[in-house]
């Protein structure tokens, strides 16, 4: 019995140690995707200036697998992933729709697309985060994979790289297409 009490502090220390070690491995910035498996939230965004589409709403996402990409002209990481989005568009791998998030100037987003290239099939302007909040967006870029029925299947936080595409997005998109 007495020996048990001597071991107790050591056991407690180990328990706390393991607990904190697990805590170190967690990323507090990484939040759960609350919308996975749920329909795309209802939104209806105005068109970006200079684009000939009528804007972008949730009903546009029915019928085929697509990506919804949250971007902004102010967003540095969006500039990083932009060439790869262009590559997806040029190869016709999957349609990408854009939500231009929190532009202080309505012209800034369109000007950015004009300068670097426009990878989006449809795009909408979201200066007040109305759509972004309903998607649970915390930062740009974020990209959602939406299936044919308009159900959100996956959220990728951060830039899309070749690696992310090959390892995660492409297999998922192919899988969703097969399921039809």
């Amino acid at each position: 019995m007495k020996r048990f009490f001597y071991i107790l502090p050591l056991a407690g220390f180990l328990l706390i140690g393991v607990y904190l070690a697990i805590g170190l491995g967690l990323d507090p910035q990484k939040l759960p995707n609350m919308l996975e498996g749920k329909p795309v939230p209802a939104f209806n965004l105005q068109a970006l200036e200079g684009r000939d589409d009528r804007g972008f709403s949730n009903t546009d996402l029915l019928g085929e697998v697509s990506l919804v990409n949250i971007f902004g002209s102010w967003c540095v990481a969006c500039r990083v992933e932009h060439p790869f989005l262009m590559k997806i568009k040029e190869n016709g791998w999957v349609p990408i729709h854009g939500i231009d998030w929190r532009e202080t100037d309505r012209k800034a987003g369109p000007a950015w697309l004009k300068r670097h290239g426009d990878p989006y099939t449809l795009a909408g302007d979201d200066p007040r985060s109305v759509a972004a909040i309903s998607f649970g967006v915390t930062g740009a870029p974020e990209t959602f994979v939406v299936d044919q029925k308009g159900i959100i299947r996956y959220k990728h936080v951060g830039p899309i790289t070749e690696e992310v595409w090959q390892d995660t997005l492409r297999p998922l998109i192919e899988h969703l297409r097969e399921q039809g």
């Binding site: 985060s129 909040i133 649970g136």
Partner: protein, 157 residues
């Protein structure tokens, strides 16, 4: 000097915490605005994670404040507004973690640690008391001492 210090103290105590809520966001109806503040102080700013949306200057926090107000004006109850934000961002957006299976350790942990501490202190003092008792009890005499004692008593007679 004392007077200056005292008046400084009074002013410090009068100061209210600086809120990031901007004048153009504030609702005209003070009752609704009060409810918006009530909701806002419980919601975490997702960008600067240890501030509430009312305390944060971040753009996303501002948009969340506006959303909270829009929903309150549209007739949502405080709980409905909070439920909506949680449905988008998860429990993490609440500054007070909810009471459920996943958070029992969080809520009960400190109590368990205090109980353990009380137990440890109790054991410590009990052992000390027992030791003290043992010290107070005189040791039994050895055979040599007994013989010597008997001799001394005999001498007196």
């Amino acid at each position: 000097m004392l007077r200056i210090l005292l008046s400084a103290l009074v002013f410090i105590m009068l100061a209210s915490p600086a809120l990031a809520v901007q004048p153009d966001e504030i609702l005209d109806d003070p009752a609704l605005e009060a409810r918006a503040r009530e909701v806002g102080k419980d919601l975490r700013c997702l960008v600067c994670q240890n501030q509430s949306i009312d305390d944060s200057d971040a753009d996303l926090a501002r948009d969340l404040r506006v959303l909270v107000r829009d929903r309150i004006v549209a007739g949502d109850s405080n709980q409905e507004v909070i439920d909506y934000v949680v449905s988008r961002y998860g429990d993490f957006v609440l500054l007070d973690p909810p009471f459920k299976l996943k958070t029992y350790a969080l809520w009960f942990g400190p109590g368990v640690i205090i109980l353990f501490g009380i137990f440890a202190v109790f054991m410590f003092f009990r052992r000390k008391r027992d030791d003290a008792k043992e010290d107070a009890k005189p040791e039994a005499l050895s055979d040599a001492e007994k013989a010597r004692l008997a001799r001394l008593i005999d001498e007196d007679h």
